[in-house]
C-alpha cells in the first residue's frame, strides 16, 4: 500500500510539467518587484533613515538581478559599492536626525512639480534608449545554447590589461579600438580618488584644529 501511495504521489508530481516553471522568469519577477517596490517606498517615505534603508534593499535586489543574469562580478560589485556606499548615506541620515529623533521631511508642492518633471524626463529618456536597442526588440528570445561557457570575470580582467578577447572577431576596424586596455585610465582615476580622499582628510583635520585652538589659548 505504501508503495502504491508513493508511486501515486510521484506520478502526480511527474504529471505536472515542471519544465514549464521558468526559474529565470520566476526569480526575475521576485527580484524586479522587490527592487521596484522598495524604490517606490524610497519616494513615498518621509523619514530619512527609512528612505536610506529602502534604498539599500532596492539596490540589493538589483544585485540579485545581476547574479541571476550570471554576472557574479557585477553583482558583487553592486553589493560592495552601491549597497556598501549607501551605508554612508544611512550614517549621515542617522547623524543628521539624531539631535531630534525621527525628523520627517516635508516636500512643498513646487518641489514636487520640479521633481516629477526631472524624474519623468529621465524615465522617458531611459525608456526611449532601452527601446532603441535592436537586440532587445526581438520577438522570441532564443534559449541559451547548452554548451555556453560559464560567464566569468576573466574577460573584464583581461580587458583591463589590454586583451580584448570579445573584440578580436570584430570585422569593423574602428570598433576594435580599446585594445590598448583600460589599465592606464583606471590608474589615473584611482590616483584622482586617492587625492580627493587625502584632501578630504586634510580639510576635516584643519577645521578641527581651528576650532580647538581658541579654546586652549
Amino acid at each position: 500500500m505504501t508503495k502504491d501511495y508513493c508511486a501515486g504521489m510521484t506520478m502526480g508530481l511527474n504529471s505536472w510539467r515542471p519544465a514549464d516553471v521558468n526559474w529565470g522568469s520566476f526569480f526575475f519577477l521576485i527580484f524586479a518587484s522587490l527592487a521596484g517596490g522598495f524604490a517606490v517606498a524610497v519616494v513615498l517615505s518621509s523619514n530619512i533613515v527609512r528612505m536610506a534603508f529602502y534604498l539599500v534593499l532596492s539596490l540589493a535586489a538589483t544585485s540579485g538581478l545581476f547574479f541571476l543574469a550570471g554576472a557574479d562580478f557585477v553583482g558583487a560589485m553592486q553589493l560592495m559599492i552601491y549597497v556598501g556606499g549607501t551605508l554612508v548615506l544611512l550614517i549621515f541620515g542617522v547623524m543628521l536626525t539624531s539631535s531630534s529623533p525621527f525628523v520627517t521631511m516635508r516636500t512643498h508642492s513646487g518641489e514636487l512639480v520640479t521633481a516629477l518633471l526631472l524624474g519623468g524626463t529621465l524615465l522617458a529618456l531611459l525608456c526611449y534608449t532601452a527601446l532603441g536597442v535592436p537586440q532587445w526588440q526581438s520577438p522570441a528570445i532564443a534559449d541559451a545554447p547548452a554548451d555556453l561557457p560559464p560567464v566569468t570575470a576573466t574577460l573584464i580582467g583581461s580587458a583591463l590589461e589590454g586583451y580584448r578577447f570579445d573584440a578580436l572577431d570584430e570585422p569593423n576596424e574602428t570598433l576594435r579600438a580599446g585594445m590598448s586596455g583600460y589599465l592606464f585610465p583606471f590608474l589615473i582615476v584611482s590616483v584622482h580618488l586617492l587625492v580627493v580622499l587625502v584632501g578630504a582628510a586634510y580639510l576635516a583635520r584643519a577645521k578641527r584644529r581651528r576650532d580647538t585652538s581658541p579654546a586652549t589659548s
Binding site: 508511486a7 505536472w16 526559474w23 553583482g75 560589485m77 551605508l87 566569468t152 576573466t154 580582467g157
Partner: protein, 449 residues
C-alpha cells in the same frame, strides 16, 4: 580498499535508483526546490548549532581563563546544554520595545544582521576536488564574501538608530566607524592569497594548497605569514569582538547597540555575531591554512581521493569538511582566548591600529608577496620546496574558470578510467551529478558539460 568502496557505492546507488518511485525528471521543479531546501537547511543548521556550541565554548573558556569552572550542571557532565536552556529562557522573555522607537526598523534590524551573516556561507566551500561541497560555487567567491560581510553593520546601525536610546546610537556610530575602517586592511590582506593562487574562486584557492602543510599559504613566504596575522586582527575587529568590541562596551555604553533588545531579537544579534566569527575563520582557514587539506593529508595518503573514484572522493571530501571545520573552530577558540585575555581598546587606539599599523603592513606585505612570486615562482614553504605536481597542473589550468573546466574535462576522463563509476544511464546522470555537486542549480553543471 578504494575499489571495494567504489563497488559498494555503485551497488547501492544502482539499487536506490532502481526504485521507480524515486525517479524524477531532470528538470523537475520539485527536485530543484528540494535540493535548494536541503542546502539552505544544512547551512542554517551550521550557523545556529555553531552558535550554540560557540556560546558554550565561550563560557567554558572564559571560566577556565578566569580560574573557575564555567557551566557544569545543565545537561550532565560539562554543562553542554547550558546554551539550550538559555535559549528556552530567551524564548519565554517579554518582547520589549522602547516607547519612542521606530517600530518597523527596530523589529527588522536583527534579521538584517543575521541574513548578512548567513548569506556569506552560501559561497564558502567545505570541500573541493571534482565535486566541491559548496552551496553555490562562484567565480568571485572571496569578493562576494567580503561584500556580504560588510552589510552586517546595517543591522547594527538600524538597531542603534531605531532604539531611540543614546547608548544604542553611540554604539552604532562606533561600530560604523570601525567596520568601515577595517574593511580596507582586511581587503588588502585577502588580496595576497588571491594573488598567489591567481583566482578568487575559493575552491581553487584551497585546492592550490593541497598536500602537506608545507604548501599552505600561511607558510608560502614570509610575507603571507605576516599577512595572516594582520588578516586575523582585522577579522576580529570586523566581527566586532573584544578587544575591538567598542560598540557594546559595557563599562561605558550599558550594552551598546543592543541595549534595548531582549528575548529572541537579542539572540538573533548573537547568532549573527557567532555566525560571522565562523565565517571569517572559515575564510582564514581556506585562504591561509590549506582549507580542507590537512596538515598531514591522511585521507589522500590512504587513497580516499577523487583519482580513485567517486565513492572514495566523496568520503575524502567528508573528511576534508571535518578538517576545515576543526581549523575554523580552532581559530574561533583563539578569538575567544584573545577576548578574555586582552583589555578593550579605546576608540582612538582602534583607529590607530587600523590606519597606522594594519593598512601599511598589509600594503607592504602585498608588495612583498608580489615580488616574491616574481622571483621564486612555483615554490612553496618559504621558497624552500618546489610545488608538487598536482599544484602545478592546477596552476596551469585557467584559474578563473578552473572549477568548470575541471568538471567539464576530467569528468568524462574519470568515468572512463575507473570502470563503471557512473553506471547510470545518461538521462539520470545529469540529475545525480547536479545533486552530488551540492549546487542548487544542477542544470548549470549539466550545461557546462
Amino acid at each position: 580498499m578504494a575499489s571495494l568502496l567504489n563497488q559498494l557505492w555503485n551497488g547501492l546507488f544502482v539499487w536506490l535508483l532502481g526504485f521507480e518511485s524515486l525517479k524524477l525528471a531532470d528538470d523537475h521543479a520539485f527536485g530543484f526546490v528540494v535540493a535548494a531546501l536541503i542546502q539552505v537547511g544544512l547551512l542554517i543548521n551550521l550557523v545556529a548549532v555553531g552558535a550554540l556550541v560557540f556560546i558554550w565554548m565561550e563560557r567554558k573558556i572564559a571560566g577556565r581563563i578566569q580560574d573557575r569552572l564555567g557551566p557544569t550542571r545543565v545537561g550532565g557532565k560539562f554543562g553542554w546544554l547550558q546554551t539550550l536552556a538559555d535559549g528556552v529562557k530567551l524564548l519565554g522573555k517579554e518582547d520589549l520595545m522602547p516607547a519612542g522607537a521606530d517600530k518597523f526598523l527596530f523589529r527588522i534590524a536583527p534579521y538584517v544582521s543575521f541574513c548578512a551573516s548567513l548569506t556569506a556561507f552560501f559561497v564558502i566551500p567545505f570541500a573541493g576536488g571534482l565535486v566541491p561541497f559548496v552551496g553555490q560555487q562562484m567565480n568571485v567567491a572571496v569578493f562576494f564574501v567580503l561584500a556580504i560581510m560588510g552589510l552586517e553593520v546595517f543591522g547594527v546601525i538600524l538597531a542603534g538608530y531605531a532604539s531611540a536610546s543614546k547608548w544604542s546610537l553611540f554604539g552604532a556610530m562606533r561600530e560604523a566607524a570601525q567596520v568601515v575602517s577595517y574593511e580596507v586592511p582586511m581587503g588588502l590582506c585577502v588580496v595576497v592569497p588571491v594573488m598567489v593562487a591567481g583566482s578568487m574562486d575559493m575552491v581553487h584557492i584551497a585546492d592550490r594548497q593541497q598536500g602537506w602543510f608545507t604548501s599552505w599559504y600561511l607558510l608560502h613566504d614570509p610575507f603571507t605569514f605576516i599577512t595572516f596575522w594582520v588578516y586575523f586582527t582585522c577579522a576580529i575587529a570586523s566581527v566586532n569582538r573584544a578587544p575591538f568590541d567598542l560598540a557594546e562596551a559595557e563599562s561605558e555604553l550599558v550594552a551598546g547597540f543592543h541595549t534595548e533588545y531582549s528575548g529572541l531579537r537579542w539572540s538573533f544579534f548573537f547568532m549573527a555575531e557567532y555566525g560571522s566569527m565562523l565565517a571569517v575563520s572559515l575564510l582564514a582557514a581556506i585562504l591561509f591554512l590549506g582549507g580542507w587539506h590537512g596538515p598531514i593529508p591522511v585521507a589522500s595518503l590512504i587513497g580516499l581521493s577523487w583519482e580513485n573514484g567517486v565513492a572514495t572522493g566523496l568520503i575524502g571530501n567528508a573528511i576534508g569538511t571535518v578538517v576545515l571545520l576543526v581549523k575554523a573552530f580552532l581559530l574561533v577558540t583563539v578569538m575567544m582566548w584573545v577576548r578574555w585575555t586582552l583589555p578593550r581598546l579605546r576608540i582612538d587606539q582602534v583607529m590607530t591600529t587600523c590606519l597606522k599599523y594594519c593598512v601599511p603592513i598589509a600594503a607592504t606585505m602585498f608588495l612583498g608577496a608580489a615580488l616574491f612570486q616574481l622571483w621564486l615562482p612555483g615554490r612553496v614553504f618559504f621558497g624552500l620546496l618546489p610545488a608538487s605536481e598536482a599544484i602545478r597542473t592546477l596552476a596551469e589550468t585557467q584559474p578563473s574558470d578552473s572549477s568548470f573546466s575541471q568538471s567539464t574535462q576530467s569528468f568524462p576522463r574519470s568515468r572512463e578510467s575507473s570502470d563503471g563509476v557512473f553506471p547510470l544511464d545518461s538521462r539520470l546522470r545529469g540529475n545525480d551529478e547536479g545533486l552530488l555537486c551540492g549546487n542548487d542549480d544542477g542544470s548549470q553543471l549539466v550545461e557546462a558539460r
